[in-house]
Amino acid sequence: MRYLPLTDTDRQAMLATIGAASIDDLFVDVPEEARLKGPIPGLPMHASEMAVERHFSAMARKNMAAAHHPFFLGAGAYKHHVPASVDHLIQRGEFLTAYTPYQPEIAQGTLQMLFEFQTQVARLFGCDVANASMYDGSTACWEAIGMAGRVTKRSKAVISSGLHPHYVSVAKTMARFTGDTLELAALDMAQSDTGRLLASIDGETSCVVVQYPDILGRIEDLSAIAQKAHEHGALLIAVVTEPVALGAIKSPGEMGADIVVGEGQSLGVGLQFGGPYVGLFACKEKFVRQMPGRLCGQTVDAEGKRGFVLTLSTREQHIRREKATSNICTNSGLCALAFSIHMSLLGERGLRELAALNHARAVQAADRLTQIEGVSLVNDSFFNEFTLKLPVNARDVVHKLAAKKVLGGVSLGRLYPGETTLENGLLVAVTEVVSEEDVETFAATLQEVLS
């Protein structure tokens, strides 16, 4: 009970002040039959710090950690090097153990950071404004579709087959309840579906949702889609699951995207087995009042000094209740902080160098892996992730590689179960943490598994 400071003497004195004979008197409103008489049976009693630590060490050892093995997984979560100062700074108690900045006079640290974060995200995405973060990329994507519906007063979203299938699943779940219709097509490794998207846009379309680079790693110009969407009064939503790519390629905003959402995990956050991550959300200024989530804004205090507050809260649930733009009442504050610190450390120059390094390593790896007989590259264009076509089912290959201590990518079979035309596809991500030796080990092991 090391976290509970009250002593039994304190408890007795406090009960006397309250005028209660025992602690049970404070639970009188709980119906007698619902009151538990003692600790719930079947659950263990309290454990020492050492015992808890030992338990978790044992659990952690059962997992294959990315840093300890040649590692090539991506598909929406990327392994990048995080500078040591990032994790050090986010563990400062004043950041880690603060709450939502509802009292701005004593929350300027969090608020100024959010203002800086919003500016970084807006600039990276080529947009006018960004919010103070969302749960993750997939929920940000769905919120963007909802927002496009509010802006256009239409409910048909045209979705690219290159959008991460889990993001599509999230959108499908939500659409089932909101009555939105999602127009989808099956993913084709052989060709992009830009043509289909262009043909699908009509006067009913609220938005077109495109991932950039897409799930296979392809990089395609979004300008034509933006233009066609705008001609029909629809919005272009671009989804970026690997923000490091934008250090090397044009931003979606430059190509006409109206809303750009993304997953910020790549910068500062780490893999964490899927979460917490940080959703990025940016758009054109004219849509700001339809945006979901928190916003931090600049203002002045009573002495005229610059300061920051949460603002435009009339869009939010604590004021508008059932009329709010979304039900979100939290953001990923600490992950946004990690993202922002990492981005500040990189700066313009560092991000470009990081992006160039990622791309170069990926190109080298693609060239090496396609030397293996029967292995071919699906996409001409890519940033740090590409799709290989294997001569056999890639899912089996992934398990065989893992047995040989190589974490060799994500099979399309896992992402698209039952899609037989995709079974031989293997998504391979190569970031700056992958060494030449790792690539050699991967190539040799893959060759061995395939032969």
């Binding site: 090391r2 400071p5 408890r11 404070l26 639970f27 009188v28 709980v30 009151r35 600790p39 079947g42 659950l43 710090e49 015992a51 059962k62 997992n63 840093a67 997984l73 598909a75 700074l89 986010i90 563990q91 004043e94 880690l96 603060a98 900045p101 509802y102 009292q103 006079e105 004593i106 300027q108 950071m113 203002f115 807006a122 404004v129 749960y135 889990h166 999230v170 309840f177 934008l246 044009k250 931003s251 893999l271 087995f273 917490p276 700001v288 928190r294 600049q298 009573a302 603002t311 709010a324 039900n327 979100i328 990923s332 500040s344 990189l346 313009e348 120059r349 693609a366 994500v410 179960p417």
Partner: protein
């Protein structure tokens, strides 16, 4: 504790400000002004050294970036100093009592941080082959086991990313269950005292929302609720303990009535910390309830998140819960049930709510807290949280109006109003006065059911001495507000910023930094 005079009056308040000269830097000793990264960084500086990129032929599809992004860079020492300085302008639970009612700010043990950062948890990918992440899956399974047992429920959905996301999960499960029954029930009932996310969630999921009034003693009006039940009502969303800090003693009666009318009961579990180990919501007929892990199980809130909102489900709703989830197999291994396996193991799922499996980093922290307390300690957690809140309530009753003080003991939070403050003085003034006393203020203007609400939640991790000092401070500030101390109107005087103009921020939104619009310079 050093007290001010008995009345709490400090006539010299504010004079020190007048006497002191402004400094050249704008700093005041350890209270430091800090410029924005856009003002101190530039596009050439970087705090990260990379290996040179090998020369290759670019394959970027002809979309090479040719425009500057506009990101400032800082060296490593500048970065460390910038964020350390910013951190010092924050109040946090590590600095002192954080009495935000309904938000539950308790001590964050560092053991939890340590285990969450173990390589085997922080450095694993969500799509790694399942045989390589058995330990991570076991942690999720163990936490799920505790949550189900502590709530007396049937199943749990671990993937919701925050409390409000969990609400959506519960409401979607209800909708899916109704769809499976072939019933269209378009209405969700939400009591006035519910969190604002409750009606927003129901509306978001396509329901129309109808309010149910509260009784004068601060609980749901059961008669009004029963009268509204019918074939068009999908269910009710109720918060227990509620936002007035009271236990909804009729919850079982309400549940029975809702079930008899064919609806489901959603319980907002944000306040579960008041009853954990002493009451199981499942015994009260609840069908779905989210649990904010940061509130009950002390995962740090990080200045606004991340949260984590697992949802426990009754037997009736469990078949509809989201994927993915972790199942323990007969051979003792753990399986992640995703789209493919769902057809066979969980065919009625309403689908996926988020890209991956939820907030793993929060799961490890919460499980570490749970194991540290155990079944015995968690019961003590609820008892101490409730004891501390009642101690605050009764100690301040003579100073501030407690509207439901006669309705029985409060649970984990004590509610006061602005009734009795001097003309022109408000709850906001009391809150800002508390900042000068060195405290984060309590929750203000929530819940909406009383005027000028002040909701104090001390939590179980405060000592009696800490509570006594807080009570003394709040009594002093309240007395000054009752006596009309003008200095209180301009509080805070001693914070990094004086009162901020929130109206200006909303009227002329400046949401990103722009070079041209800089000049509100620090003095």
């Amino acid at each position: 504790m050093s007290t001010v005079n008995a009345s709490g009056w400090r006539p010299e308040m504010g004079e020190s400000d007048v006497m002191a000269a402004e400094t050249f830097t704008g700093n005041r000793a350890l209270m430091l002004e800090e410029a924005l990264i856009f003002e101190i960084g530039d596009s050439h500086t970087t705090g990260v050294d990379f290996d040179p990129a090998p020369k290759v032929q670019s394959r970027l599809g002809g979309l090479e970036r040719n425009r500057e992004i506009g990101l400032p860079g800082l060296s490593e020492p500048e970065t460390v100093r910038h964020y350390t300085r910013l951190s010092r302008q924050n109040y946090a639970i590590d600095l002192g009592l954080f009495p935000l009612g309904s938000c539950t700010m308790k001590h964050n043990p560092r053991l939890n941080e340590k285990v969450a950062r173990m390589k085997g948890f922080i450095d694993v990918h969500p799509l790694q082959p399942q045989e390589t992440v058995q330990g991570a899956l076991q942690v999720i399974n163990e936490l799920a086991f505790w949550l189900v047992d502590l709530t007396g429920m049937h199943g749990v959905a671990m993937s919701p990313k925050a409390g409000a996301h969990g609400e959506l999960c519960g409401i979607l499960a209800i909708k899916a269950a109704l769809d499976a029954r072939g019933e269209d029930r378009p209405v969700i009932l939400v009591p006035e005292s519910a969190h604002g996310t409750n009606p927003a969630t129901a509306a978001f999921a396509g329901f129309s929302v109808e309010n149910i009034p509260a009784t004068p003693e601060g609980r749901v009006d059961v008669a009004a609720l029963k009268a509204r039940l019918g074939p068009d009502v999908a269910g009710v969303m109720i918060t227990n303990p509620n936002t007035c800090g009271l236990f909804e003693r009729d919850l079982k009666i309400i549940s029975d009535a809702v079930h008899a009318a064919g609806g489901y009961v959603y319980c907002d579990g944000a306040n579960f910390n008041a009853i954990v180990g002493r009451v199981r919501p499942g015994d009260l007929g609840v069908d779905a309830m989210h649990i904010n892990l940061h509130k009950t199980f002390s995962t740090p809130h990080g200045g606004g998140g991340p949260g984590s909102g697992p949802v426990v489900l009754s037997e009736a709703l469990s078949p509809y819960g989201p994927i993915p989830f972790v199942a323990k197999m007969p051979d003792g291994s753990f399986k992640l049930v995703e789209e493919e396996a769902a057809g066979e193991m969980h065919p009625e799922t309403f689908g996926r709510m988020t890209a991956f499996h939820g907030q793993m980093g929060m799961f490890t922290r919460a499980l570490a807290y749970i194991m540290s307390h155990g079944a015995d300690g968690l019961r003590q957690v609820a008892e101490d949280a409730v004891l501390n809140a009642n101690y605050v309530l009764r100690s301040l009753e003579g100073t501030l109006e407690a509207p439901f003080g006669a309705s029985g003991p409060c649970m984990h939070e004590a509610l006061f109003t602005d009734n009795g403050l001097a003309e022109g003085f408000s709850t906001l003034d009391v809150a800002k006065g508390m900042i000068d006393e060195g405290y984060h203020p309590m929750t203000v203007y929530f819940p909406l059911v009383v005027h000028g609400a002040m909701l104090v939640e001390p939590t179980e991790t405060e000592s009696k001495a800490a509570l006594d000092q807080f009570i003394g401070a709040l009594r002093s500030v309240a007395n000054r507000a009752k006596q009309g101390d003008p200095a209180l109107k301009s509080a805070p005087h001693f914070a990094p910023r004086r009162r901020l103009d929130e109206t200006l921020a909303a009227r002329k939104p400046v949401l990103v930094w722009k070079e041209a619009e800089l000049p509100i310079a620090a003095e």
